[in-house]
């Protein structure tokens, strides 16, 4: 299978927007306020360059690219959890519960790794191949759950900071779409070459674009009533 112009365009746009988010944060002097997010974006940009190099050197269907892709994705997802934890800390900043949040997040991460290992342990014949995909699916789903809990806390605490709200919601869209793609891939492997292979790269572009938009357009002082965002059955 060969990559087309759309794949390369997604790569290029993704890389440029990831760098764009960092430039935007530096320009607005918000790097330390969103330190984990800045580091994540820088790492994501480096990984994008590495992916391009890997495809160029070994080919898209090579095992080198396969392992590079899934292991760096898993590492980036773990790095993204750090950003989620920072969002939690921002949401709960007046309650002084930072150490509890960190502890709970680390515990959850360890449990996810153990669970993924336990699930794949029975399929020892393709342990490594299956493990990376299984781990990716579970990590993204943990990300969905963490983000959903955070969103619930934001609604409960009537958080009004528009920037924080938009950052969290964009992250929720990213995690849920990617987790769903991984799950569908496990359920229907035949869909992978036609439909599912497009979703992770598109979502990989979505997250930096949505964040770049938020940092560029929404000021730290902007406020929004969260009650307007909830869909209620009438």
């Amino acid at each position: 299978m060969q990559l087309g112009p759309f794949d390369y365009a997604l790569w290029l746009v993704g890389f440029l927007v990831e760098i764009g988010v960092v430039v935007c944060l530096v320009h607005k002097k918000d790097v330390f306020r969103y330190l984990s997010l800045t580091i994540y974006m820088l790492c994501a940009a480096f990984v994008t360059v590495g992916q391009y190099y890997s495809v160029d050197r070994f080919g898209f269907t090579s095992p080198q690219y396969f392992y590079y892709y899934y292991y760096t994705e898993s590492l980036l997802t773990i790095l993204l959890f750090w950003t989620v934890i920072q969002f939690y800390q921002q949401t709960f900043r007046e309650m002084n519960v930072s150490s509890y949040i960190r502890g709970a997040a680390v515990l959850l991460l360890l449990l996810t790794g153990l669970f993924s290992y336990a699930v794949v342990h029975e399929n020892r014949s393709h342990l490594t191949t299956k493990f990376v995909v299984e781990l990716g699916q579970n990590l993204y789903f943990v990300g969905v759950v963490l983000t959903y809990l955070l969103w619930g806390a934001i609604l409960k605490l009537r958080e009004t900071r528009t920037r924080l709200i938009q950052l969290v919601l964009a992250l929720g869209v990213y995690f849920s779409a990617t987790a769903c793609t991984y799950a569908l891939r496990n359920l229907f492997p035949s869909l992978q070459p036609f439909v599912l292979r497009w979703v992770p790269p598109i979502m990989g572009v979505w997250l930096p674009i949505a964040w770049a938009y938020t940092f560029a357009k929404v000021s730290e002082d902007a406020r929004l009533a969260t009650a307007r965002l909830v869909v209620r059955a009438r």
Partner: protein, 136 residues
């Protein structure tokens, strides 16, 4: 089994996050009233913006010079409008009660497009004024 569970839960949460995200973008435009100029240009003078006005308003937005900073939000709201249209079509058979909600949301999308059009018209005028000033 696990993958199926994750798939269903992720789709449900994706919809919730996406709808809330679009509402957060629409939230800012709700506070802005449409100017007489936009009402006149788009032919909606003396009446409320309608749910079906969105495509026409977006077409008018595209006729104006790009500001360069509103493309993302217009695309996101466009996708949301499409999703609402789909829900409206499907729900008319399955859950009739949801129609009123989708209609209200689509009016919000149209209002957003009107506000975007207003900004672009102002931007075009500023550009024109600047060009005239540069020539003289």
């Amino acid at each position: 089994m696990m993958a199926a569970l994750i798939c269903v839960a992720s789709i449900a949460l994706f919809l919730q996050f996406f709808v809330s995200y679009c509402r957060a973008i629409l939230g800012a435009s709700r506070k802005v009233d449409l100017s007489e100029r936009v009402r006149e240009v788009s032919g909606i003078a003396n009446q409320q913006v309608g749910a079906d006005d969105f495509p026409r308003l977006v077409q008018l937005v595209r006729l104006c010079p790009e500001r360069g900073d509103d493309q993302t939000e217009i695309r996101a709201v466009g996708t949301y409008y499409g999703l609402l249209h789909f829900i409206k079509t499907v729900s008319s058979f399955l859950i009739p009660g949801i129609g009123a909600w989708t209609e209200k949301e689509r009016v919000g999308c149209s209002h957003f497009a009107g506000v975007a059009l207003d900004r672009r018209i102002s931007y075009s005028r500023d550009l024109f004024t600047q060009q005239v000033a540069d020539r003289s």
